[in-house]
């Protein structure tokens, strides 16, 4: 049911009945390494191209979620999938052997929240009994599309973020079992004129602020009602800016705020500069670690606000700024 201004309350409280994550080598060596269902030391996953490796990673996350929830493919009524690549090739490649109705999404790094929101709305409105939300990213496939060849010797700036090689899948059903999805807020395009493609955090912070504050206002909740406000991958720069933006309203979110881009890697030991990014970053943190904690009850009320910098190399070279977006999904144990 629409509350207002993009916030939708899900009255039937759909559940995330199964979830799984799959990550590459660097992510498995990070602080959350033990949380993930699947890790690999070989980021090619035996495929001939990085795009196919990413598809495979997405497939692994999806199939693991199916088996963890004892689902068969026939049980899934619709699949919302997305990634960073042009035409969402990793998602369609990953889904091509299934016969599941497929919706491809692009929301840059916000795609996990976008797909989870849509899957929950489908289940809540009885358009589906079980809906899957799958997203992935791969460092090498993203690097060659958006930046430079992998072996090119470039220096990254301190504000640059590292695209995660990771995938996550959540299956939303109309069962009664935590984590529940209480409400979602659909993001708006926020463009604050950031043109630096090496500073995605800055491009996304305004969108995160907009969506989170809208969600709080529309659902009449306070920051203190949450155990965790989890942004997608703002990294260090974007997280600092988000806190600063809230501080201007007299709201301190630092006690409950965390960021997937800061959680996935050990920034002291791993050379990721401002933190992780990519659709797979928030997907793997959510599906590898946060959903489990909500299911077990250690986290009671979580606002997951994945953020995306909708960066196109073409538009960026034309001198245009990078629009940001953030979608929010409120998950709770009760």
């Amino acid at each position: 049911m629409l509350i207002k201004d993009g916030t939708i309350a899900l009255d039937s409280l759909p559940s995330v009945t199964a979830y799984a994550s799959a990550v590459g080598k660097m992510e498995s060596e990070g602080p959350l390494g033990k949380c993930f269902d699947f890790t690999t030391q070989d980021n090619t996953l035996g495929e001939v191209s990085w795009e196919k490796s990413e598809s495979k990673l997405q497939q692994i996350a999806f199939n693991t979620a199916l088996s963890k929830g004892r689902f068969s493919q026939k049980d899934i009524d619709v699949m919302f999938a997305g990634d960073l690549l042009n035409q969402c090739v990793s998602s369609s490649g990953g889904a091509k052997d299934t016969e599941i109705p497929f919706v491809g999404l692009f929301g840059a790094c916000s795609t996990m929240a976008e797909s989870l929101a849509l899957a929950s709305i489908f289940v809540d409105s009885k358009a589906a009994n079980n809906a899957a939300a799958v997203t992935s990213s791969h460092f090498c496939s993203a690097e060659r599309q958006f930046r430079f060849p992998v072996n090119y010797g470039g220096q990254r700036t301190p504000t640059a973020q590292w695209t995660a090689t990771a995938a996550g899948c959540a299956i939303v059903s109309s069962h009664c079992k935590p984590p529940y999805i209480r409400s979602v807020t659909i993001g708006k395009i926020n463009d604050m004129g950031v043109t630096d493609a090496n500073n995605m955090g800055a491009a996304m912070a305004a969108a995160a602020y907009d969506t989170i504050s809208r969600h709080l206002a529309n659902t009449a909740q306070q920051v203190s009602d949450f155990d965790l406000i989890l942004t997608g991958d703002l990294g260090q720069v974007g997280s600092d800016m988000l806190k600063e933006l809230f501080k201007r309203d007299g709201v301190d979110i630092s006690a409950v705020h965390n960021d997937c881009g800061l959680m996935l890697y050990d920034r002291e030991k791993q050379d990721v500069h401002a933190g992780g990014s990519g659709c797979g970053c928030s997907a793997s943190v959510l599906c590898g670690c946060i959903l489990k904690q909500i299911e077990q009850g250690t986290l009671k009320n979580v606002l997951f606000a994945a953020t995306g910098a909708l960066m196109s190399p073409t538009i960026n070279q034309q001198g245009e700024s990078i629009p940001g977006i953030s979608h929010a999904v409120q998950l709770s144990a009760q």
Partner: protein, 147 residues
């Protein structure tokens, strides 16, 4: 949030850490200097073997390009460049890396449309404007000769 893009830009600048110049500058200087020393050693070696100055310089370039190409192939050049910055970018080895890296990367799109078509995707502008500048210089020289 009522905020102008100028205000947001100030916020961005405040939150964004600057590059640590006290690290990047010495590293660029030393690594770049060492590559040039390697070039000097090769040049002296080729001169010792009897090549004239022009040829010794050319063969030095070819050798440095060769080293850089294979370091790129082994995935080592980018690891050095992470520290070297401009120290590995500005020498001819950086030029070679910017040619070899796309050649290797895009071979998944085929040897014609991948490797060959994209080989100059980074180094292309250097060749285009280097040659363009040299032609302008040549025309100016020619006009001066006429006078």
């Amino acid at each position: 949030m009522k905020m102008t893009t100028a205000e947001y830009d100030r916020l961005t600048k405040k939150a964004s850490p600057n590059t640590k110049l006290y690290l990047t500058l010495p590293k660029a200087f030393v690594i770049g200097g060492l590559i040039c020393c390697l070039g000097q050693a090769l040049f002296n070696l080729y001169s010792y073997w009897g090549l004239n100055e022009m040829n010794a310089r050319s063969v030095t370039s070819i050798t440095l390009v060769f080293f850089s190409a294979f370091l790129t192939g082994f995935g080592l050049y980018d690891k050095i460049a992470k520290h070297g910055g401009a120290g590995t970018l500005v020498p001819i080895t950086g030029f070679a890396n910017s040619v070899v890296a796309p050649a290797l990367e895009f071979k998944t799109e085929g040897f014609v449309l991948g490797t060959a078509a994209k080989i100059f995707i980074i180094a292309g502008p250097v060749i285009v404007y280097g040659i363009a500048a040299s032609v302008i210089y040549g025309i100016i020289l020619y006009l001066f000769q006429l006078m």
